[in-house]
């Protein structure tokens, strides 16, 4: 045991594993607790000290057990709020760190390596961008390198790396082939998800609170359009409908949630009436760990898979059955004119007219006055909207905080805010005036990128937006965006332009590429990166069952069982062929070269005639012996063979001049002589 541990500490594989653990766990810094990262660092220091001979002894088992118990308690204490998934990842990192401190046997190393592979796999849950993927690929190579070092400790690192790289290169095509053809299964069971990982839109908005969402330049989703692309002012991506207002906060109405659950259980869903023109497009949503999907109004899932996976609610929301834990692709068809023709139920009426009993007295008074003045709904709405245009409202991302009676303060005092302030104030005012209204949150705008065949819109988190939908008996549901009245730039040009003067666009992240749009080459780089990222998401992260079937169809034409089994056979053959290809160098290595082979064949033939070559006999000596013992017919071709053999083997290749035969011609002559010899010997029999 002692010997083993001594040998192990000398091994360079352990130091590689240490580096690996540090890099991988720090790449997960967002989900791993800080004190666990500290333990990882401690383990690394211990390993480093032992490797470089600053210190000779591993910490004793007792110390480690104590540390393990303490940190397990710590993890239980702080892990309660983390949720199962992140808790598991934390536990894994912790276990790896503790294991690293006490690696003594080969078994420990194996366990550590397997755990690290698993940790890399978990890393893909949290980070899926190209950069992170490349990083994790490098980590995989490093891990394989440490494994190789463990099994052959005395090979130089460079040649080890070469070997591992070759192996990986050989494995990669097979792996990709397997990925393409092995069936893409739906999730087998509900996986643990944690609340804290949710990103993107919030399920409730409190306009008086701090503006946080619009400051992120992260991608929210991308939409690839097949036909025409809607112009910027038409790009209202619906996500969440909020109908419950308590004077400060807008929420999804609890009754709607209840209703949705009932519908899910009964396997019913809302069927919108579809009229007018439509847009077909495909959305690739970034992981949000929520169920909300995005679509232009009025969106319906398009295609079989999307219809199965997406639930359409009565408020025209698209809701995924699975939480978006990784990138999710779905197809949508949107009917921009269909919003007005949808049914309006008693329930809708009730929910969209309810207002809190108290609070915001100034607004109540103002609406009462307006309503007595304008009995007609249309005129009343215009009058309310006129309040926004006639007064000097400002669109800002840094509004003052408004805690009590926020709508009063916003409408009559501050008159500065961003989309949700405007939407909230308008919806509340209209409800007071007896007009059904609700808030819709989602995204507005997006950056259009067009190339030869496809055009896609990238929507970022800073495109988040909120607007109002009202219902009128003659026109049905209608979208009103009060922000557009105050800051038309926000809608037509996007947040970046709208905030140009204030300078608050992405002010928390001064080095974000999205801020640097004025520097031409930086912007080009940004767009190029975005393009790469789009293709990465679309073809790799978004590869799903549909794509797979399309791929099969493009290969096979039709998906019959016969053809499928043929495909399976074909793939197996390809893999076998690939493996054979990798085997060829070894096969060649084992084969004698031609010169040797022909000569050995000749000797074998003569041996059948009791030649009996002595050990000490060189080739020329042997030829002389043959010459003495056999007839000329046999001796002559053998002499030729010997001459060529001696020349090819012993004569250095540098001195061949032009007049002489090259190797190929020599081989040809050898072959000829061999055939002659064979014929002569056969004739003797």
């Amino acid at each position: 045991m002692k010997q083993v541990s001594q040998a192990l500490t000398k091994n360079s594989s352990l130091i590689l594993i240490t580096i690996e653990l540090i890099l991988v766990s720090f790449s997960l810094f967002e989900s791993v607790l800080t004190w666990i990262l500290l333990i990882v660092a401690c383990a690394a220091v211990i390993r480093g000290a032992i490797h470089f001979n600053f210190h000779k002894h591993l910490p004793s088992i007792r110390t480690l057990n104590l540390l393990a118990i303490l940190s397990a308690l710590g993890l239980i204490y702080s892990g309660m709020s983390l949720g199962l998934l992140i808790g598991m990842v934390n536990l894994l990192v912790l276990a790896c760190a503790l294991k690293l401190m006490q690696v003594r046997t080969q078994k420990d190393i194996y366990q550590l390596i397997i755990s690290l592979f698993f940790l890399i796999g978990c890393g893909f849950i949290f980070n899926q961008s190209i950069v992170y993927s490349l990083f994790y690929c490098a980590m995989c190579l490093l891990l394989l390198l440490s494994l190789a070092c463990h099994h052959a400790p005395n090979i130089r690192l460079k040649s080890q790396f070469k070997r591992v790289f070759t192996l990986s290169l050989q494995a990669a095509p097979i792996g990709i082939l397997l990925f393409l053809v092995l069936p893409q299964l739906p999730p087998l069971w509900q996986t643990p998800k944690s609340k804290s990982m949710e990103t993107g839109l919030a399920e409730q908005i409190t306009p008086g609170d701090i503006a946080s969402l619009s400051q992120s330049s992260e991608l929210a989703f991308r939409a690839t359009f097949i036909g025409t692309v809607p112009v910027s002012s038409e790009r209202y991506w619906r996500a969440i409908v909020m109908e419950d207002f308590d004077g400060k906060t807008w929420k999804i109405h609890p009754y709607r949630k209840q209703l949705r659950n009932q519908q899910l259980r009964a396997n019913q869903e809302f069927q919108p009436k579809l009229t007018g023109t439509y847009w077909d497009y495909q959305v690739i949503a970034e992981p949000t760990h929520q169920n909300w999907l995005f679509g232009l109004d009025l969106a319906t899932p398009n295609g079989n898979a999307s219809q199965v996976e997406i639930f359409q609610s009565n408020e025209f929301q698209l809701i995924s059955h699975q939480k978006l834990v990784s990138q999710y692709q779905y197809k949508v068809r949107s009917y921009p004119q269909a919003l007005s023709t949808q049914p309006f139920s008693q329930l809708d009426q009730q929910l969209n007219l309810s207002v809190p009993k108290n609070g915001n007295p100034l607004t109540r008074q103002w609406i009462n006055e307006l309503r007595t003045q304008y009995a007609d709904n249309q005129e009343f709405i215009q009058a309310v909207l006129a309040h926004f245009t006639t007064n000097s409202f400002i669109y800002t991302l840094k509004p003052a905080l408004m805690y009590s009676d926020p709508i009063d303060k916003f409408l009559f005092e501050n008159q500065a805010g961003f989309c949700s302030h405007y939407a909230s104030a308008l919806a509340f005012s209209l409800r007071l005036g007896g007009i059904p209204a609700r808030i819709v949150t989602g995204y507005q705008g997006g950056e259009l990128a067009t190339d030869a065949q496809t055009s896609y819109i990238s929507v970022y988190q800073y495109d988040a937006h909120a607007w109002v939908e009202i219902w009128q008996p003659n026109s049905g549901w209608l979208r009103i965006d009060p922000t557009a009245l105050v800051s038309p730039d926000r809608i037509n040009l996007g947040l970046r332009e709208a905030m140009a003067e204030e300078g608050s666009f992405l002010s928390d992240s001064p080095f974000a590429l999205a801020r640097m749009i004025d520097v031409a080459w930086l912007n080009n780089i940004r767009l190029l990166l975005a393009d790469m990222d789009y293709n990465w998401s679309r073809w790799i992260l978004g590869f799903n069952k549909q794509h797979q079937q399309e791929l099969f169809k493009s290969i096979l034409g039709k998906l019959t069982p016969d053809r499928m089994s043929l495909l399976g056979l074909g793939i197996t053959t390809i893999i076998t062929l690939l493996l054979t290809l990798f085997f060829i160098p070894h096969w060649l290595e084992n084969r004698l070269d031609k010169t040797q082979r022909y000569y050995q064949q000749a000797i074998k033939l003569l041996n059948n005639k009791q030649l009996g070559r002595k050990n000490w006999q060189g080739p020329i000596e042997l030829a002389n012996q043959v010459n003495q013992r056999y007839s000329v017919e046999i001796a002559e071709p053998f002499a030729t063979l010997t001459k060529l053999y001696v020349r090819l083997v012993y004569q250095s290749s540098n001195i061949t001049t032009q007049g002489q035969l090259n190797d190929k011609q020599c081989h040809k002559m050898m072959r000829k002589a061999l055939a002659q010899l064979k014929a002569e010997l056969a004739r003797l029999n």
């Binding site: 849950i125 999730p187 087998l188 996986t191």
Partner: protein, 333 residues
């Protein structure tokens, strides 16, 4: 169970017959995932489940990549293992109680380019019953830093012809996912000589005399009595052996050689009709005497009852005597 063992051993004998030299190839290499390989596959399954449940293509890609790597590793470890060429060297004489050092030459006549890599593990393939008696350690050889020949230790417990078990040679290179192994048998006629037990030397004067008239050990056996022949003088020989007459005749320095008298040629005899315990003891004592007498370069014969070796001197004679003692009571074929 016994039948199965017999069947496998028969099968092995047919598949990998004993030879002086083994070149490993598809006929004698076995390959199977190691324990770690199993663990690795379990990891792949786990990654597949996780990747499917999270609909995470990158995780699935990782899983399939590792699976493909596993497959490629199969070939890589076979190719590496198939580069091994082993041949058995000559082993020194060995006595009961000593360790046999079996020298194995690894790729002795192959250029550096086609050398295998990684660590090799040598072990004797012992039966269950042998295992309790014979303790052999595994020999680990790192092929990247080693010196030929590799010497394997095998403790010898019984005299006679040694039936060396097969040698199990295994390797986990390059990533430890697969274990390549083979059970090699080597042609060897290794005779384990009896353990020498020190005693006085008893030489009987006559091969078949009944009485035990012995010659004392330690008497000067290279006699001065009878002149036998002349030989070129070597520095260090006593000056009174020099044939001065020949020097005077101008024939150079020549020394006279004498031989001991005929009746001083002794026989080592094994007392017959003895119980087993004493027999082993006597054989051991005889062994000691043979070694001692050979060291002193004295002529002696060996009489074991059924085997009789005429008096002689020299290495071959010693070997013959020791072999006869080792194989007793069977006479050498």
């Amino acid at each position: 169970m016994k039948l199965l063992k017999k069947l496998t051993s028969n099968w092995l004998n047919k598949r990998i017959p004993a030879a002086q030299k083994h070149k490993l190839n598809h006929k004698n290499i076995f390959i199977f995932p190691s324990k770690f390989g199993g663990l690795f596959l379990a990891l792949c399954v786990l990654l597949f489940l996780l990747g499917t449940n999270y609909q995470n293509n990158l995780m699935l890609l990782l899983c399939y990549f590792l699976l493909a790597l596993f497959l490629v590793n199969l070939l890589a470890s076979y190719i590496n293992f198939a580069r091994i060429e082993l041949h058995q060297g000559k082993s020194a004489q060995v006595f009961v109680g000593d360790n046999l050092h079996l020298p194995l030459w690894l790729n002795s006549d192959v250029d550096n380019k086609h050398m295998p890599d990684g660590e090799l593990y040598f072990k004797f393939k012992l039966d269950k019953q042998n295992k309790s008696q014979i303790k052999t350690a595994m020999t680990k050889v790192d092929v990247n830093v080693y010196t030929n020949p590799i010497s394997l230790n095998y403790p010898c417990t019984n005299r006679g012809a040694l039936s060396l078990p097969r040698i199990t040679l295994s390797s986990y290179f390059p990533l430890g996912l697969f274990r390549c192994w083979t059970h090699l048998a080597f042609n060897n006629q290794i005779i384990v000589y009896p353990e020498p037990i020190p005693c006085k030397i008893h030489l009987s004067s006559h091969p078949h005399s009944v009485e035990d008239s012995s010659v004392q050990a330690g008497t000067e056996l290279t006699g001065h009595d009878d002149f036998s022949h002349l030989k070129a003088y070597q520095a260090g020989e006593p000056l009174h052996h020099v044939a001065w007459k020949q020097v005077a005749k101008g024939r150079g320095m020549v020394s006279k050689q004498f031989s001991s008298v005929e009746n001083q040629i002794g026989w080592l005899k094994l007392a017959t009709n003895q119980s087993n315990e004493n027999l082993e003891l006597d054989i051991s004592k005889l062994t000691f005497q043979v070694i001692e007498l050979s060291r002193e370069q004295q002529k002696f014969g060996l009489d074991l009852g059924n085997t009789c070796i005429a008096p002689d001197v020299g290495h071959a004679h010693t070997q013959a005597c020791l072999t006869a003692l080792a194989l007793f009571p069977q006479s050498k074929a």
